[in-house]
Symmetry: D2
Subunit: 355 residues, 4 copies
């Protein structure tokens, strides 16, 4: 008899939802994609061609989908604004949840999701931080664990997207939570992974510019920003996020320890080809995050399924997802309000008046 | 109704056979692995744990396996010596065939496989040259097709394995056909791909040493060898194969054109991590060909299945597999006999006496 | 008749002074090293062996040296604390001056040097910023000038030294002005070069840790620090300085424009050798700044001499040297006092009380 | 009193002669350029502007120049055809000689130079192989000496020039000795350096094409060629030379040992700049050998002078220069005559008839 497969549904079939659906259907051997939900006619059209023929039931109502017979887990790839609500509704139906990052752009809402999850310790509730599943980041983390760089003390990490002249990200900024919540959250999550999730904030500062998309001013957002986070145990992380790269996606991280350093993706590359021409030697770069992290998403799917089926611990805590949003929100506030925000030894915010 | 899946069996569950079985079972959405064959008790033990529970019927007799009800295709990953025979037997049962390279170390035997395949044009018969499915090689080939380097004129290509001090390859040399048939066949196949499969041999030469495995002398084989192939249309390919690499697998190719050059894997790397330490900056390298080409094998499985199900042309001709063995055998002969072998404008061998 | 050579004296024969002496003697064809000064017996001993035999007169009194017959220019490589005074004294003797960076760690003192120089426009007075003479930085600057990256908007620049476990830099910190004045001054100078020296400060922030040299606390200094500088024209520069590198000197700069990016030294390297071994592929890194910038110092010597002899403009303004120290001092203040410092549109500091 | 300087004359002021003159005048502190010779009016015009004002006496007659009062050494950068004759004439005047490679394209003539030099052991007679003075090659050689790669067993080395569409090299081929004597001689010399100059030839083979300069057929030469040299002690060297590079100079060497590998210049680069643009990431490449080896030529000048003044051994033997031409000539013969040439254990050629 074939071993059991986890019955999974995917909510949201936009850019990333489609990929989740395909990954759970085709590249996650222990999962069976049984249902998918989207309120969007174009997404549903795609699903009729690409999912329905393979036995996936389509829904236009999220609440109906999570009552699909035998369903065991939901992957949430809808708009951020409904991540938390849908996660909680799924838990109420006793379903495991893999939710795209962030749980919410609001810390309080994130905390509600965690609270609901903590009531149901038998459920696996994970927020998808794809870089945690990337082979290079894992290798780097393993090397840190083995002590190869001494104590990690400084992290430099950036999330830099290829410039999209279409201006999609201007509208997107209306509800994204701002660049430090939307983009740098990956870098913040890496910081928690490499420094430990018990680090205590000491201060944050940030600066941004609108170099190519002045309309971002409408939403108090920026197309390039730099932020620094200081922790009370004598560590620093600094972040750069940009939507202005000409060449493609460039997500780079350095972990600088007392006895050595590790870098991830200092030389971005699409593949192993170099072209030699009269202007020099050129290599191409992935166009977007999926070009860089495709296999990490596949690994994410498989590990989530394995944790559900085998009742194994998830690779990281759900509370990290809250902490990452919290730190991101502070940095975003520092950015928008042009001020430094400081915290006491317990991580409690010291109001500006106290400076 | 779910679209049809191709029912596939895998023959041979050794190092590569296992991988084929897992790839067809888990990473080839349009395939269904229904059967597997191995005469080896250890391999069967592995199959009982890893294949049987998922509905794969195990066989200890190849001929019985190819009569498995509903079977449509066979993947042959057994010892090279039975590749051809098993391929022909499968065709006789009206099965599509994906056979590991080489079809045989003997050109005549390869030709028999081709002859049998030509009798059954409705069958897809493919010899697995993994590099043809690698994203980097494909990008390079696409760039050549787009004219980015002018006319490809010189190819340098190497297959270099990590040194295995255990001496496995000494025994293996007894029946491998020699390094140019066993290792460089990939480089030769790439040459046919980049130069065109209608190139006509003008001469071959080769030289080898036994630097770390003197026992290879027993089998007239070498652990490092260099060969040059000259073609009548004014092109040259030169190859290096080695089993002596300290650092890992290093399969590198340069395609040198009249207006530019492309390189593939000039900087071998396991992943995107660099380690900075007191001795400098270090990156790791894949330990073996599967570390380098894993995703190419997955792509190979999927494209083979797609060709079978949709009756689409295979990505390359079976006759190339014969030509690659033929050229490899000539180079091996030049190597072992320490002579240059020349060919007339029709590719007909000019005997040494005619020099 | 041989063309005229510039008669040069070098003051200070410590680590960098020795190199200047040798460069002006041997690698600056249009200069003649005629005198050298050091109060230090060990340095004088070295000079007796290495300079005196070649006709260089040695002095233990700076004031006497600058009265050396026929002397035309002085290169000042003494301790930072006397840079300004010695520069002014040299100008008073009508001598051209090449002074090691910084003119002083105090902005007011730097300004005095500039004021004295402005009284004597026929004299060439230059503060040595070696990176301005480096072929890679010049190529990058030229590419920016040619518009290849659009408008430079963000600069990331770091000065990272190999860790010296001897603790030399603890004592040195007593009078160095702090890491942002001592180390990052190069990065700040590059910012003025790439952004234009008319940029107006908007704010500065900085954070530091003492990860390997806790004794730096005595001098309010740090072994790793990150700083951000915001300018009123919508540009940002951010800096990292560290004395903790295990692998060697790593001075890296990225200039990020609206239409492209340039990097300098993203892959540090001692030379063009890679070593392939069982642990991977390793390249070495220069041990110190001179290993990285030796040829830039030679170029600096030659261009200074050429400006003096041919009465050509110096490659950059002396006032930049003041501005770099000024910005560095603000960042250092922000670092030590753990606060953000803000400036109005005229660059006038807004006191914290006004925040 | 200033230490003695070596009085040097340069013969030939063409492309490389000019550079030698400038290097000996300005970048070789222990040398004094006192004389220069050229029969060419344009070269003399250049010399009148660039050398004469600095006290260099110009000659249009080589024999007169070598009688210049006090002259101690001659640097020969004239046409290859007169290298040997001029070297011998200089020795007859008791002058040290640094002669550009090759001594001659004819082995017998090279041997005459060596014979003359051997009669005068007090003279330093060196043939300039610039790569021997390059920091990267020296580092690689040092690592080999330290045993880091075990026994060097295979060398891959290439000399690849940027394509010059002007066709200069067609005329040049008339007297260059052919690509393996003209270009690969550097790679052959490196082989003698890394393998030892006592290696004994076992066989040579070579193949060439005319991909961009068909007119080379007039002179029996090629624009791309590959050669293999086998030695009797179980080692192989293989060479690629090309005049067809679109991107610039690419002289790459790999030394492959039983326990590791070293590469030199696997990633050619003009400097440390990378440009990131919509097509990817690009670095530039030196346009010619001088862009790659400029500092090696400076080092060569200085070491030659030091050997002369201090009566120290030269860094390598003059006989190597003969052996390199000898091997190069054999490879060129194999190339042109399309045959393999074999040698017995004493290195004595085995005629084709004996095959």
């Amino acid at each position: 008899m074939a071993p059991k497969k986890l019955k999974v549904a995917v909510a949201g079939l936009g850019r990333m939802g489609k990929r989740h659906a395909m990954n759970f259907m085709n590249r996650t051997p222990r999962a069976e994609l049984v249902a998918a939900f989207s309120p969007d006619p174009n997404e549903l059209k795609w699903a009729k061609e690409n999912l329905e023929p393979f036995g996936v039931t389509l829904y236009t109502d999220y609440n109906k989908m999570i009552q699909h017979p035998g369903l065991e887990a939901v992957v949430i790839g809808t708009a951020t604004s409904v991540h938390a609500e849908e996660s909680i509704q799924a838990m109420e139906k006793n379903l495991h949840v893999l939710c795209e990052k962030p749980l919410s752009t609001k810390v309080e809402v994130c905390k509600q999701v965690v609270a609901e999850a903590q009531k149901r310790p038998h459920l696996k509730v994970m927020c998808g931080f794809s870089r945690r599943f990337d082979a290079s980041y894992r290798d780097a983390h393993d090397k840190v664990e083995r002590g190869l760089i001494g104590r990690p003390s400084v992290i430099r990490s950036q999330t830099c997207d290829k410039h999209d002249p279409g201006g999609f990200f201007v509208a997107y900024a209306a509800w994204s939570g701002g660049v430090f919540v939307d983009m740098s959250i990956h870098d913040i999550d890496l910081t928690l992974w490499f420094f430990g999730d018990d680090v205590v904030l000491k201060s944050v500062s940030a600066y941004g510019i609108r170099a190519v998309q002045p309309d971002l001013a409408k939403y108090n957002d920026y197309d390039n920003a730099v932020g620094i986070v200081e922790f009370h145990d004598g560590r620093i992380a600094y972040y750069f996020c940009s939507r202005m790269m000409a060449h493609g996606q460039e997500d780079t991280t350095e972990i600088i320890g007392t006895e050595g350093k590790l870098s991830v993706n200092v030389n971005p590359q699409l593949n192993l080809v170099n072209r030699y021409h009269s202007g020099g030697i050129t290599r191409e770069v992935p166009h977007d995050y999926y070009g860089r992290f495709e296999m990490a998403f596949v690994e994410e799917s498989n590990e989530f399924v394995s944790a559900c089926l085998d009742d194994k611990p998830l690779p990281y805590k759900l509370t990290n997802a809250v902490k990452a949003v919290e730190i991101g929100s502070y940095i975003q506030e520092a950015l928008v309000q042009e001020k430094q925000i400081r915290f006491d030894k317990n991580g409690k915010r010291i109001e500006a008046a106290n400076l």
